[in-house]
Amino acid sequence: MQDFTPISGLVGGVLIGFACALLMLLNGRIAGVSGVFAGLLPPNRSDRDWRLSFLCGLIAAPLLGTIARFSLPRPTLPADLWLVLVSGLLVGLGTRMSGGCTSGHGVCGTARLSTRSLAATAAFMVTAIATVAIVRHVIGG
């Protein structure tokens, strides 16, 4: 539990909520990152301009942070690149099949009390927790 950071978690969450609320109030769009990104890819491209600018905003944040002397994020990913590849494929496939990810279903859908999104969120939480349990405590244990 030494890594538990509830205050920064809550503050960051509130900012994410403001971003989702503003995108709906201003542009009438759901801030679901997998959907925003997938709309830029073939074969179903649509509304390129706002999607691209949202993604530019995502990538610009850590770059602008470096001006304020924050370091760029250095995420720790598995050394096994095959695992990274399979994980990315599953995330891409699964989010298109279900129509949303942690932001679209987990945040925006839950906030709309959509039964589909609540079911989707429960489903990905269960399989993600099971995956970590197997990787860390069955295989790794």
Binding site: G17, P75, V91, R116, T131
Partner: protein, 154 residues
């Protein structure tokens, strides 16, 4: 133009939220998902804050007839809990649990130009396009089958 600036600002704010909350770090994500280990409940606080503010914003948006900068809002129209929804979410969860990246944090992390992150995003894009191509191919085959069925009936 205003819409493009607004969505850039929303993307920026979204990413700042992810960075402050630590959600761009796969270790924080896996720490939350590791219920049977040294559990880190931070992600629940991120979700609670995000869902509460988003809910308030959406309630405000519903009181307006149109969004401020657009002619209409675009909301999901699908209803009902389908096998596709549950299987898709389940597959996403497995991918999320393997590495600890979901689409938002993965894209924010692209800024660091790390090879594994670039590979992850490329694979994610391939998974998305692959599924959509498969679906459109499936829809096309179904249309052709329907058309030939209609021909043979006529």
């Amino acid at each position: 133009m205003l819409r493009v600036i607004a969505s850039f600002g929303c993307g920026l704010l979204f990413a700042i939220g992810l960075l402050i909350s630590g959600m761009t770090d796969p270790r924080k994500i896996l720490g939350f998902l590791d219920l049977f280990g040294a559990w880190d409940p931070t992600l629940a606080f991120v979700m609670a804050g995000a869902v509460a503010v988003t809910g308030l914003g959406f309630a405000l948006a519903r009181r307006r007839s149109t969004p401020i900068l657009a002619e209409r809002s675009v909301l999901p129209t699908q209803a009902g809990i389908t096998a596709r929804l549950l299987i898709g979410s389940g597959l996403f969860g497995i991918g999320w649990g393997l590495v600890g990246l979901c689409p938002g944090p993965a894209l924010v992390n692209l800024a660091g130009l790390n090879v594994p992150v670039i590979l992850f995003v490329a694979a994610m894009a391939a998974g998305m396009s692959g599924y959509n191509l498969w679906q459109s191919g499936f829809a096309k085959a179904k249309r052709q089958a329907d058309a030939s069925a209609a021909l043979s009936e006529g």
